[in-house]
């Protein structure tokens, strides 16, 4: 029975219409293809081939640390000559050298930097002024009077806005304070611009000492707020061989150009706020 009706099943639709439909789409596709080709030629935008080569050498994180819109943006700027050849803070010296070759320029090696959070106010060293029930974001918490709920008004709030900003998983909040993993940090600068208290600074990777405090309060007030904070006693400045460490506004600051890593400042600091790295 079924075998008898097979010829009828095959001719159940008009084969002619199928062919006409197929041909129509085929012709339309051809016309559109040709039109696209013509438009492509007419509206051709010349792209500097060096841009593609430079882009190959860039890491491709699109972190925006260079200040341009992603790696494509930086490649375009380097090719045009608007950005310096070593403009990418994430790329290593080898990549910079390659880019320098492509652009035909000499490259001076930029020193590797890492971020450092200048605060040591962990949960055992300091307290909170009040119970904060709000958004877990440092920038939002700053809008509460007293610049957030840490007892020291300069201190790290520990809500982790910097952690969210970091694309390289290099910064974490440990015990109420943000800490940077210097092996993972590529110094793109996102955390620096995110921190509402400007606690994070880019220091050289090989920096031997760092002052882990940002408090500009007088020594008396610092002691009240935090067990370990820079009191501006200036013992470190007297110890320093090269004059690299200075105290301004009750806060010690190291000039890494002058620091020779002798470590005397860290030894003699009564608050133990200068930490060795």
């Amino acid at each position: 029975m079924i075998a008898n009706s097979i010829p009828y099943m095959v001719l159940a639709f008009n084969i002619q219409n199928v062919l006409i439909g197929g041909a129509f789409v085929g012709v339309l596709g051809l016309i559109l293809g040709v039109a696209l080709g013509i438009v492509g030629k007419v509206f051709f935008v010349k792209v500097d081939e060096r841009e593609g080569q430079v882009r190959e050498c860039l890491p491709g994180n699109n972190c925006g640390g260079c200040g341009y819109a992603g790696c494509d943006g930086l490649a375009a700027a380097i090719a045009k000559g608007e950005a310096p050849v070593n403009g990418c803070p994430v790329a290593n010296a080898e990549a910079h050298a390659k880019i320098g070759e492509i652009m035909g320029q000499a490259v001076d090696a930029a020193e590797k930097k890492v971020a450092f959070v200048k605060c040591s106010g962990t949960c055992d060293k300091t307290e909170r002024k009040y119970n904060y029930y709000g958004l877990s974001d440092c920038r939002k918490a700053m809008s509460v009077p007293g610049s957030g709920d840490k007892l020291c008004s300069y201190g790290c709030l520990g809500f982790g806005s910097c952690v969210d900003a970091c694309q390289f998983d290099a910064i974490h909040v440990v015990d109420g304070v943000a800490v940077v993993d210097k092996e993972k940090c590529v110094a793109c600068g996102k955390c620096v611009s995110t921190c509402p208290k400007a606690l994070i600074e880019l220091i050289p990777y090989g920096a031997p000492q760092a002052v882990a405090c940002s408090s500009k309060d007088k020594g008396k007030d610092v002691r009240v707020a935090c067990k370990t904070g820079c009191i501006g006693c200036m013992i470190c400045t007297k110890q320093c061989e090269t004059g690299a460490i200075t105290v301004t506004d009750n806060l010690a600051k190291i000039d890494y150009e002058k620091c020779n890593g002798c470590g005397k400042c860290a030894e003699k600091c009564p608050q133990k706020i200068i930490i060795a790295r």
């Binding site: 439909g21 339309l28 051709f44 958004l135």
Partner: protein, 191 residues
Amino acid sequence: MKELILILIGSALVNNVVLSQFLGLCPFLGVSKKTKTAASMGFAVIFVIMIASAVTYAVHYQILVPLGMEYMQTIVFILVIAALVQMIEMMLKKVSPAIYSALGVYLPLITTNCAVLGVAITNIQDGSTFAESMMNSLGTSTGFLIAIVIMAGIRERLEGNDIPKPFRGMPIVLITAGLMAIAFCGFSGII
């Protein structure tokens, strides 16, 4: 004139393309992380939908109907819209690099967005005149812009909130979209 305004408001709010017709959900959920990018995406969609529906209207009534091939509508529209958006992108890149850098990235995303095809086909199915079709397209794409900007605003606010772990990411966004759709049901009595 009054009918045109009614069409505009109707397609933007009452029959919102994303929240009532559920078309164009992919860019709606994908590009709504920041208000700025969402607004740029909305404007790119307005641009594409206006041009695409004008061209498809012409293609249908000038080419398909005279040849009696209305049944080819779907596939022909898809081909035409895709080619059209590619051409627009190429022209934009050359003619106005400024606009290209602002919304050029989104043009490939909109190429086969079902909202574009949906509007084109709806215009034909409703048997509208050219003016009515254009108003419908403008209203639809403006509705898309409204919906995506509101969604981006809500998502930016959600960033700082404590969302339960199972809901983080897409789940809370989809729930938000559902709530928005319910809210937009409130417009249904206007026209």
